[in-house]
């Protein structure tokens, strides 16, 4: 009898609560605009936050409300921008896609060590101690904070400790750029094919003391191959002209005395 009684009571309570919930669901329903749903589906869904919003859904909402521009999505690039503008019915100019590149070619043996670092496995904490244990103060610290923060696992360390970015996996979110204490990772336009893999702005004689493979600012690339696109500023060569790829660019790369010009 007791079992039957409690069964009835529980059934009653359960069905009352269930009925109550279903009524509440109908009453409290929020209608979502179909455009907003389409926008959310158009997003890549990486939730990387480079657009400046908390995630893909909130960026879609911001576009829908007119608070954000189309084309701030780095991983999606042109494709997502085109999709969004067609959904919103707007014309959108071309956007530039970026990718991260490590501007330092050093491995663990190419620079002198000033002291033995035994601390947290984190570049920023190493940087607090005399700007890192390596003699070059503007180069890579080899501890790999960028590897840990990369959402796409695009950054890797080879067997010598040299840190590189896998260009195919990089989405250009810029998280590694922000975490690197020496600013040795930079974003460059995707169509740029050549770059100088060094970040040391000191004069050549000091660079040679600190690092075997740094750019010494000899200006061979700039003077001998005038239209190669390489310019030396502040004792450091950089590839500035992105549109012209001439014969000389290749020659400059081959004839660099430090072999520090790389092609992607």
């Amino acid at each position: 009898m007791i079992v039957f009684y409690s069964f009835i009571i529980l059934l009653l309570i359960g069905s009352i609560l269930g009925f109550f919930l279903s009524v509440a669901e109908k009453k409290l329903k929020i209608s979502k605009d179909s455009k907003l749903i389409e926008l959310e589906n158009a997003m890549p869904g990486a939730n990387c936050g480079i657009c400046g919003f908390a995630g893909c859904v909130s960026y879609a909402e911001a576009i829908f409300n007119g608070k954000a521009k189309i084309g701030q999505c780095a991983p999606g690039g042109q494709k997502v921008a085109d999709k969004c503008s067609s959904i919103m019915g707007l014309n959108q100019e071309k956007i530039q896609k970026l990718k991260a590149v490590v501007f330092c070619n050093s491995d663990l043996n190419s620079t002198e060590k000033e002291y033995n670092y035994k601390g947290l496995n984190d570049c920023n904490s190493m940087y607090m101690l005399f700007k890192g244990s390596f003699s070059c103060k503007e180069g890579c610290l080899h501890l790999g904070s960028c590897i840990n923060i990369c959402p796409e696992n695009a950054i890797f360390k080879d067997s010598n400790g040299r840190i590189n970015v896998n260009e195919e996996l990089c989405i250009g979110c810029g998280k590694c750029v922000n975490i690197c204490p020496t600013h040795v990772i930079k974003l460059i336009p995707e169509q740029q094919k050549y770059y100088v893999k060094c970040n040391n702005h000191q004069k050549g004689i000091f660079v040679k003391k600190e690092c075997k493979i740094g750019c010494i600012g000899c200006k061979i690339c700039q003077i001998k191959y005038p239209d190669s696109g390489f310019v030396v500023n502040d004792n450091l060569a950089s590839y500035s002209d992105k549109s012209t790829i001439s014969e000389n660019t290749k020659k400059a790369m081959e004839n660099c005395p430090q072999n520090i010009i790389f092609q992607i």
């Binding site: 009571i9 529980l10 309570i13 359960g14 609560l17 919930l21 669901e25 947290l120 496995n121 840990n148």
Partner: protein, 198 residues
Amino acid sequence: MTYLGIIITFIFINNFILVKFLGLCPFIGVSKNSESAIGMGLSVTFVTATASVICYLSYYMLLVPLKLEYLRTMVFILIIATLVQLIEMVIKKVSPALYKALGIYLPLITTNCAVLGISIINIDESYNLLESFIAGISAGLGFTLAIILMSNIREKLSITPVRKWFKDVPITFISAGLMAMSFMAFDNNLLINLGLTA
């Protein structure tokens, strides 16, 4: 027991996670970074406070008159699950900003044993309505305290060199155990020394 005594009891002496071992699932699951830990803690506080009031009312107004006290566990689970669903819907409708901060954690709390635990403890300790409300809030605050401490420890652990076989969950369990041992230092003598026992 005074109200202050109840607050101290549920935050320190009978901390839900570290002493009673209730609600360990979100404690391990959502404590990876402090931002989500705070969100989770606040939603648990909100739900424990409301659930202890609703369960108190349903126990004394429904189960006791019907002489069905033995059904309280099942009825409480039903009521809490419904309540959390309802709160989620209301928050979604009324305040999207609050929903973004707390809403994603609400479904996790639906059948959390910490919420059921506080409702049953309220009945066992025969608290009155106000006392159970305060107990609910302070149990939630104790949960928040523990989960925030844990998330800070885990953030530190994630950049500390830890042996491979201890990484992530094992080292978290060890640190949780050590935290629980330190919370054992709070016992009823604290209440007696503060003069808060009735």
